[in-house]
Subunit: 287 residues, 4 copies
């Protein structure tokens, strides 16, 4: 039976690893603060002592940490996965990082004979619990095929692009669209409101047309209610917009609407909405 | 039995009036070039000699012409509907016009004792034929209730806002969103393409997330194929963006992303894409 | 001796007409509130009873009123200059109006055999008193040559473009640049300030480089002091930006930086700075 | 007599070092390709064998290389200046680099007991030859005072800000303004041209108003002539705009007009104008 490792048991990681354990797989978990391993150990997981040890013990080690710094530490720090890599060992990093970071991690792993797949996810807590995440993988195609069943336990859909870094790029582009389209919705609602229309009417009319989408249905009513309970923090959206603009700079693509949206998110971040939901850009738009 | 008039038998008007005739209603049609009345007359419609005469003969006269100039002529020219207005007579104008024009027409009609409803539609040829249009009405609420059955023959949904002009404003806002979101999609596809991703992959990933919407599904593949067969001409979209920006100026709402989108549409118009589909803004974005 | 009329004795008109009277010219003045004529009458001017009467009495009638509505009234209202126009009579309108308004006035005057020159000015109260205005004329070239001496009494420089409306367009373009460059200065100062630089240092460094200009020298220190005593009201600058953007729409020129600046001015207007100096856009930029 | 080193003899460095030699100072020069030292040696300069050796031999070593990579190499590579640093030795880097790079170099130098001043310059070849550069120094204030006479040989004006990095920031802000204002000028000229005005008239009218500045006088006529002979390459301007936007992101300042300008420069770079003068953004604007 194949042995799986899972590093990083935050909100997302706990839910994802939980599904693997519930599916009866052989899972060894590790987390920086060890007590978070307990609930999974109680359900049957083993507990590892370090990323290196998990990597050495398992066939495929999965990781889900919060940002590029954490992902980098997991790989390069003392006791990190690099110390456990051996030929044939596989590492799949689901963390959302910038393309440069994932490329650096990938090269380090493959440089020691390991196999690497980046796999940033689309979806948050609820889809992680329900196993309906979307995986934007890139890298080792054979590892992708081998990991398909595990991905299927955690997600409803997965992709595998050619080059490591393209998963991160895809995620950036999707988030750039989310941020820009959210800004556009905010402008439409604010314009209608100032003109004397009911914002709820605008939302309803939108559901009847070609732009009808889950984002508007979910966030629109919250914006009308000035409810910005955080699903995805505004400061993270602004960071992703910035990274997407940098990618545009690198490849030579001007991004006028995304650039305008980024400036509004930046203003929103600066005026105290960084930790609110990214829909809070609406406050800056209508102010 | 209530008598209905229908003025303007272009692509949209013919389809809409056709549904009324097919539903067995008493319909009198008129068109500037009279021969376009024939197909409907053959199916049972009467033919009127002028807008004034239709207005005078019918209880509720409907109109669907191409632009503010045509809508204005229909109302104010010699033989126009104003000459047929009498107390109680109702006029419903489905033409897409700017808020100022619809207000002017509405005041002229009600100034002579008539009842007025603006009703710009969302939807094009196919929904007109299928009776699945969406009506964004505003004005006389009792007329709206009275006309509900007829609207139901032509559309799947209708709204009625308070003040004449708000239907036009709602349509502007919806179109502003369509134009801006389309621009954002174009930026995302162009960015991914230059970065080495497959545009079809981007579209597919988008369908898995919260932005999934009919517009992306319909236009995205056409953009990849550089197919800009015209469903909604780019120059009309640019005009609507301009009108929305003017509305923003009037009511004091800054519109950064819509303003950026308008500039791209303006450049696209200027470089020869005015008569192509509005998705052709993609050519300007990626150039 | 040639007879001159002068209509409109606000801050600008009084100063301009005052210079004509001081130069010993035969001047007949008129103002909507007649008492404003007194100071000039005391210095030797005659007083007219209506624009029509001034126009009829004088060879060249000059006008300087506050906005398009006032300029239009001066021309078309009862007792307006049109009633005094006769073949050979000349009318020069210095009022700042949009191109469409000046064209309409010009056509009305020449349609009755009169001669017309638009002449919007660059410069405010002080240059008007000092006779250092700049005139952006357009229209009848022979009238321009004939009026050159009078323009020389009031200004340091004048231009004459071919077509009526081009003076107004030139002024719009100059103001568009003023507004956009002011916005850019504001962004530079705010960026430096947040980064820990002294704004006064930035201004001083700018004076050493190729961007050194009177606007920065004059407005920069005021911006640092949050002193927005009104020289040119922000709401008028925003209006000119809007008109420039409309001109861009008409002729097919995208205007990305001017569009962004307009949105910032609009936000500034909306948040209560409309009557402050246009440099107050800085408050919106740094907020 | 104090001994001066000068590293980097490109167009700028040669002219600057040349002025020091001509002023009779004791100067030791070094350049990566050694033959460029000859003309200066012939005029009395000594030639060093490596940056480290020059640093060790001289009291104050000056450097002027082309970009952050070269400045970094000069400092950190084998034989670099770090190997020659000793307590009291002074290093002044005139190269234009980003704030992070200059901070890193400064910390390395002072970490070994050296004294450091960054001193990016405003001005190009001609001012370098004429000794009319402007120095935007930051760092060690006593070194600045000590170096004042040398700076006076090469420049007309110098500043010294507190923290290393602020010189680079100041330069970024000045260049951001240059780029954005140039874009604004381009929009004004293109708008006027399409409206039927003469661009030369616009430029002349601008010289009469509060925006009159050397940049418009110098670049404006070149833009009309489509002459983009390179004084400052467009790709470098775009890079500086990008760095300024990143600084804005770091400190929380939204930059709407600079962001729009950056997108236009990016498009210009992408369409082949990267090596032309930065005024070539005009081609993208009017296209």
């Amino acid at each position: 039976m194949k042995r799986y490792g899972f590093l990083g048991l935050g909100i997302m990681g706990s839910a994802m690893a939980g599904r693997l354990v519930a599916a009866g797989l052989d899972v060894t978990v590790w987390n920086r603060t060890a007590e978070k391993c307990l609930p999974l150990v109680e359900k049957g997981a083993s507990q590892g002592s370090s990323p290196a040890e998990v990597m050495a013990r398992c066939d495929i080690t999965l990781a889900m940490v919060s940002d590029p710094a954490a992902a980098t530490a997991l790989c390069f720090d003392a006791g990190g996965i690099l110390e456990g890599v051996a030929p044939g060992k596989a590492y799949i990093d689901f963390s959302t990082v910038d393309p440069a970071t994932t490329v650096r991690i990938g090269e380090a792993v493959t440089g020691r004979g390991g196999r690497f797949l980046e796999g940033p996810v689309s979806g948050s807590k609820k889809p992680a619990e329900d196993g309906t995440l979307v995986f934007l993988c890139a890298g080792d195609q054979s590892l992708y095929r081998e990991a398909a069943p595990v991905l299927g336990v955690m997600g409803k859909k997965s992709y595998c692009f050619k080059e490591v870094g393209q998963g991160a790029q895809m995620k950036l582009i999707v988030n750039m669209l989310l941020g820009t389209v959210m800004t556009s919705l905010g402008e439409g609602l604010a314009l209608g409101d100032k003109a004397g229309l009911q914002m709820a009417d605008i939302l309803e009319v939108l559901t009847q047309g070609p732009l009808d989408n889950p984002l508007f249905r979910m966030k629109g009513p919250q914006m009308i209610d000035n409810n910005y309970a955080t699903a995805f923090p505004l400061k993270h959206m602004q960071k992703d917009l910035r990274l997407a603009l940098q990618l545009g700079d690198t490849v030579g693509q001007s991004l006028f609407t995304a650039g305008a949206a980024n400036n509004l998110f930046l203003k929103a971040r600066q005026t105290g909405s960084g930790d609110e939901d990214f829909a809070a850009v609406f406050k800056t738009i209508k102010s």
